[in-house]
Each structure stands twice: as C-alpha cells, then as structure tokens.
C-alpha cells in the first residue's frame, strides 16, 4: 500500500532566501554586489569631491608634455626635450634591463649555492648555509643600500686615477672600477663586422646541430662521439678565422680619463651595479633553497638505481637527478623572477632610473599628477607579472606528470 503524496507545493517564502541552498548563494551574491557597488560609489564619490575641492582633474595629457629633466642611464635616445611618455619608456627599459640581468646572475648564484649546500664538504656546506641565512633574513632594501654604499664609499673616484701619483689604476689598462660605475671597453663595429657576427651566430647554430646529431647517433647506434672539444672548436675557430681574414673589423674603444670622467667605452653605472648585484645575491639565497629542496625531492632510490645501471656520478646528476629536480625547482624559480622584477622598484633608493624613479618619481613630482602616475605604474607591473604568471601556467601544464 503505497501512497505517493504530492511533493509540497512550491511556494516561495522570504526565509528561503537565507535557508534554502538554492537561493542562498544568490542572496549572498546580491548582498556582496550591493556592498561592492556601495563601496565603489563611496570611494569614487569621495575622490570626485576631493578632486573638485582641490580643483584638480584626472587627465593623462601630461604624458605628451616636455619632461625637462635628464636621465643618465638610458637605453634609447632621450634628452630633456623628450616627453614624459618617453621618459617613462626609458624607465620601463631600465626596469627590464636590471630585472633580466639580475634574474640571470641570481640563478647562477642560487644554483651554485644550492648545489654546494649539498656538498660533501662540511665547511663549504656550512658557509653556504650562512650565506643563505644571512641574505634571506635581512631586508633587500638594506642590502641595496649597503652595496651601494660599498660602491660609492670604497671604490675610488675618477679623480684617484688622475695625475702621476694616481692612487688607482685601470685593471689591464682597459677596465676602470670607479665609484660612478665600471667602465669597460666598447666594441667598434667596423665594415665587415656583420660578417663576423653572422659567422658567430652560424657557429652557435652549428654547435646545437652537432649536439643534436651526437645525441641521435647515441640513441640510434650507441656510439658516443666527443662533444665538448668539438663544440668549443666549432664555436670559436670559424669566427676567429673570418675575423682575421677580414682584417680585424671589430675594434675596441677603451675608456680614457678625459675631463671629469672616463670617456669612451661602455659605462655600467654605479646604481645599476648596486641594484643588480644586491638583487642577485639576495634572490640567489632564495633560489639556493629552492634548488636544494628540488634536488632533495628526488628520492634517493633514483640515484641508487642510476648508479646500479653503471652511470658515472656526473651522468647521474645530468640525466637522472636534474631533469626530475627541475620539475620541482622551476615553478618557484619563476616566482623568484617575478620577485626580482618587483623588487627592482627599490631602484629609487639608489637613484637608478627605472620606471618607479622616472614615472613614479620625477614625473610625478614635476607634474603633480600623483593619481595618474601611480595608476600607470601599477598597470605596468601588473602587466609584467601577469605575463610571467601566464608563462608559468603554460610551463606548469607542459611539465605536468602525465598520469596514466
């Protein structure tokens, strides 16, 4: 005897908005939307009122105006008659420059320190632990200031190079280490130099092709060709040959002390070096920890199995450990790169003309367009970090373990 009672009539009560899971999420979202809209309205209204009271307006026209200030560290043409927009671009390029340089060196420092932290050598292991702990636990701003102070207070000024009783001299006659920066010889591209460069690029391609060939040969036939020496020879010989045949088209422009400063050569400014070095050595300590964790994450059985197969220790590292460790190392590594880019904004402490110093510093001060400048600044950093995270997501999905 089964009676099927009708399901209770759907009648909507107000309390369902809170108690019924079907509607509750809608209620909450509606409340959230309301709160959000109210706060945006409140803040926006305050902003408008404040701006009106101060007689200001939001406008980006100032970007086209003449900047009227000079920047010494620049990668593109710029002088005081250029626009604020161009000054901002100079800043963007400088930010990217120091970020890329610091990423490269931080990786080198980090990998070396991380591998040495696992060394058999007790002293080296402890030394690297001390390095990592000291650099990780002291603010990067203090490191930047310390290294910049070392630059300016310890290195000699150009004046020390002058005269007969000069207290400093150039290293190898071509490198000058001064407190304004390091001067190195600059290449002079004579006629035919492009041929040399092209040869060099071709050699690099050739080396890669050769390596690929040897690998394929190894897998196909088991024959192992020598790799290292042929690679070096292929890299250098053709270029040198062309260089000599064409009559040495590439010369060097040595820095020379003229007037107040060294002239000629390439100048790597003091602020750039301080920032670059400080960021690399600070981030290097973090990367070292990532590298160590990555290597330790590979289970010991892998090493033992590889050794059991008869691989030499170098090959164990190259062929077995590192490929697996990299999977663990690279995601945090990329977020360290992101940190470097963001920390490069501390350039302002040493007067390096990055985007924070040009757009967010001088332009902001001279035009008084605080809101516009800070917004543009945030937009720039946001774009960079979104690009980097997008890249990271792509990478992560490409190395994801294919689970079967």
């Amino acid at each position: 005897m089964t009676t099927i009672t009708d399901p209770p009539k759907e009648s909507f009560r107000l309390s369902q908005l809170i108690y019924d899971t079907r509607y509750r999420s809608l209620t909450f979202q509606a409340i959230a939307a309301l709160v959000l809209a109210l706060s945006i309205w409140y803040l926006g209204n305050n902003l408008i009122q404040n701006l009106r009271a101060a007689g200001l307006n939001i406008s980006f026209d100032f970007l086209g105006d003449t900047a009227n200030y000079d920047i010494s560290q620049r990668l593109i043409e710029y002088d005081s008659q250029s626009s604020h927009a161009r000054a901002a671009i100079v800043g963007v390029l400088n930010t990217l420059l120091v970020a890329v340089l610091a990423c490269i060196t931080a990786t080198i420092f980090g990998v070396i320190a991380g591998v040495l932290r696992l060394s058999n050598n007790w002293l080296v292991r402890k030394l690297m632990a001390v390095y990592v702990e000291i650099f990780r636990n002291i603010p990067v701003l203090i490191w930047i200031i310390i290294i910049f102070t070392i630059m300016t207070a310890v290195l000699p000024g150009p004046r020390a190079f002058r005269g007969d009783d000069a207290t400093s001299s150039m290293v190898l006659g071509s490198f000058a280490f001064t407190n304004r920066g390091i001067y190195i010889p600059a290449p002079i591209w004579g006629p035919g130099s492009m041929v040399v460069v092209a040869t060099f690029i071709a050699s690099i391609v050739g080396v890669f092709a050769y390596r690929r060939y040897t690998t394929n040969l190894l897998y196909a036939t088991g024959r192992l060709l020598p790799v290292l020496w042929p690679s070096i020879a292929m890299l250098l010989l053709p270029t040198l040959l062309v260089f000599v045949i064409l009559g040495k088209p590439i010369g060097l422009d040595f820095p020379e002390l003229k007037g107040f400063n060294f002239q000629g050569g390439i100048k790597i400014g003091g602020p750039l070096i301080a920032l670059w070095f400080a960021l690399s050595i600070y981030t290097g300590a973090f990367i070292a920890e990532n590298v160590r964790a990555g290597i330790q994450a590979v289970s010991k059985g892998q090493t033992e199995a590889a050794s059991a197969l008869g691989l030499r220790p170098g090959r164990v590292m190259n062929l077995v450990i590192l490929p697996q460790a990299l999977r663990v190392i690279i995601p945090p590594l990329i977020s360290q790169y992101l940190n470097i880019t963001k920390n490069s904004s501390l350039a302002i402490a040493v007067g390096y003309a990055d985007i924070t110093a040009t757009l967010g510093g001088i332009t902001l001060n001279q035009t008084g367009r605080a809101i516009e400048c800070v917004l543009l600044l945030m937009l720039f950093y946001l774009t960079i970090s979104l690009l980097i995270s997008a890249f990271m997501n792509v990478y992560n999905s490409s190395i994801k373990l294919k689970e079967r």
Binding site: N50, A53, A54, G55, L56, N68, Y69, D70, I71, S72, D79, S80, Q81, T149, M151, T152, A153, P156, G157, P158, R159, A160, N179, R180, K258, G259, F260, N261, Q263, G270, P271, I348, A349, G351, A353, A357, G361, I362, L364, N365, Q366, G368, A370
Partner: protein, 339 residues
C-alpha cells in the same frame, strides 16, 4: 563633527583626526595644534636636533604662525616631507601649511592649486665643487657628473642651464640632502647643485668646509616661501600677514627683546601700534586676538633675528643677507604696510 566621533570610536581616534569643513583657521584653533610641513632635514632651515626638537629658519615661520593663531609657539606638529610627498600632504589636508624651501613657480601656483603667501628667502640655484677640481665657473663643468635632488625645480633648471650653454652632464638623482652629501663627499659626483642657501648649509656640516667652493653662477631665481591650499583665503591671509609681521617688525626695529615694552602701551609710531595691537583692530579682522603679531614676533624674534639665529653669518651656515636684506638696505625683503 559626528563623523570624527564615529571614527574615534572605530579605534582610530588617535589616528584619524576629524576636521570640520569650515576652514583651516577654525580647524587649527579647534585642534590646538598647527600641522606644519617641513623638510626631512636641512640644517639651518629645518632639522631635528639630537633631542628631536625642530630648529631652523622655516621652523621659525611655523612657530610664528602657531604663536599668532594659538598664542603658543610650541603648539606645532612638524611633519617631515620629501620633495615627493610635500604637495600631496598639503593638498590632502594632512598639513595646514608648508614651509619647506619650496620655490614659487607659475605651475605650482596655478596648476597644482596652491597659494604662495610670500617669500621668506630669495634664493638661487648654485653649484658646489671640491677646490682641488680647479673649476671656477659652472660653464667649465662640461661632462661633469652632477648630484641633484629629484622632484625639485633645481632638476629642471639644471637641464635648462646645460642645454642653453650647450654642454653635457650626467645627472645623479638623489632623494634627500643627506644622500647628496654622501655621494658628493665620496666623489661619486663632481658637483652638487641645489639652492645656494642649501649648499651653504650642507657645506657647513662638512669636516673641512674650506675644501669646497660655491661657484659664482646662480642659474635660477628661487623665491622660497610658505604656501597653503588654494581657496582658503582667510587662512592664507593669516599666514601671509604673520610673515609680513615678522618682516615689518624688523623694518620698524621691533625685536623680541624690546617688544614687551613696546606693546605695553601705545608708542609714538602708529604703524608699530597697529602691528602690536595697541591701536586699531587688525587682529580682529584676521580672526585672531589683538596681540597676534606680538606673539608671532615673540616666538622667535623678527625676520632679521630668525635669519641671524639660524642661517646668518654668525652661524656655521654663514649666509649673508644679500638679496634678503630689508628693502631699506638694498634687499628685496619688503612687506606691504600694516594699515
């Protein structure tokens, strides 16, 4: 005012000071303190001493205004500002006035919406170089590295000067005077440029001031003065006439030593009487007490006294009056009459 009570209850009473919309003068009176923006540290103009007490020429102006409005020269809250933060601090109402060697320019007055109430120091941008460099004119600085404070008019003047003379230079931007000093002394730049007064003040702190010279060229006009927000004319008047009172006092020979006796009873000079409130009702017109100017002058002395105590020739900074002498002595310091 209810809003301030509400904020107070939100545990931020000490942090969020409510302010009525009436006007800065009423705000200051209600608060019992004057918020005065000064530099983060330039000896002679505004710098905290070892006990954290602010001293200097600009500080003197702040104290005079506080004395005029509140009758108490110590009722000042000094807010240190950098080149970057000073204008926002003023525009947002965080400070009531800015006395931070700020140059009066067209765009700051018109575009940034501030009112410069007068000039308390006529300055100009100069260069300091080490003696051993053997430079005697700024035009010989071709290729030099120049330390410069960012966010100031000096940065723009510098670019103009070098461009006009068609010589090159390399700017080293720095944030504060202390940093500039460090860089310059370390030889990271060949020359340091800022207002001539600032250079003198900086040089005075060196171990061997004699090793450094100021070049003769003054490449810009830098009239420095206190400023307030646009649109609050009553408050602007208070600050303007306090400054003028200090200047007039010097012109009329009213000093902090003789002011007590001069203000006791009306004297023979009607302008002094009007200034000190023994005659007429100038104070009332400003919305202040009758002895406002007396208080302002008592705070640190008249203009000349402030100058001598803080930056004059008897101090380590050793600035001559020069352009900043009274108009009666061939300078530019000139106050409209108190009438």
């Amino acid at each position: 005012m209810k809003k301030s009570v509400f904020f107070g209850a939100l545990t931020v009473a000490g942090l969020a000071a409510g302010a009525a919309a009436a006007g800065t003068l009423d705000d200051v009176k209600a608060r019992g303190k004057l918020n005065c923006g000064v530099t983060t540290g330039l000896v002679g103009f505004a710098a905290p001493d070892a006990n954290g007490k602010w001293e200097g020429f600009d500080v003197g102006v702040c104290r005079a205004v506080a004395a005029a409005v509140l009758g108490d020269a110590t009722a000042v809250e000094f807010v240190p500002t950098t080149g970057k933060t000073r204008f926002t601090a003023l525009a947002s109402g965080e400070i009531d006035m800015l006395a931070r060697n700020t140059t009066w320019t067209f765009s700051r007055d018109v575009d940034l919406k501030f009112t410069f109430v007068g000039v308390n120091y006529y300055d100009g941008q100069g260069f300091m170089v080490p003696k051993e460099l053997g430079v005697s004119s700024a035009k010989e600085l071709d290729g030099a590295t120049v330390c410069i404070q960012t966010g100031t008019t000096t940065e723009l003047n510098l670019a103009d000067f070098f461009r006009a003379n068609n010589i090159s230079y390399e700017p080293v931007p720095i944030e504060t005077n202390a940093e500039g000093q460090q860089q310059y002394l370390a030889g990271a730049c060949d020359t340091y440029t800022t207002d001539a007064s600032g250079l003198a003040a900086t040089r005075a702190t060196f171990e061997n001031p004699g090793d450094h010279v100021l070049l003769p060229e003054i490449i810009s006009k830098e009239p420095l003065g206190p400023l307030v927000r646009h649109g609050d004319n009553e408050w602007g008047d208070v600050v303007r006439w306090t400054l003028n009172a200090l200047i007039t006092a010097e012109e009329l020979g009213v000093t902090s030593t003789n002011i007590a006796e001069m203000s006791a009873a009306p004297g023979s000079n009607p302008e002094i009487n009007r200034l000190l409130g023994t005659e007429g009702n100038l104070g009332e017109m400003l919305g202040l007490s009758a002895d406002w100017a007396k208080n302002a002058i008592m705070a640190g002395g008249n203009y000349g006294e402030l100058f001598e105590q803080n930056i004059g020739e008897s101090t380590s900074i050793g600035l001559a009056r020069g352009l900043n002498a009274q108009w009666t002595e061939g300078g530019l310091i000139y106050s409209p009459p108190f009438r």
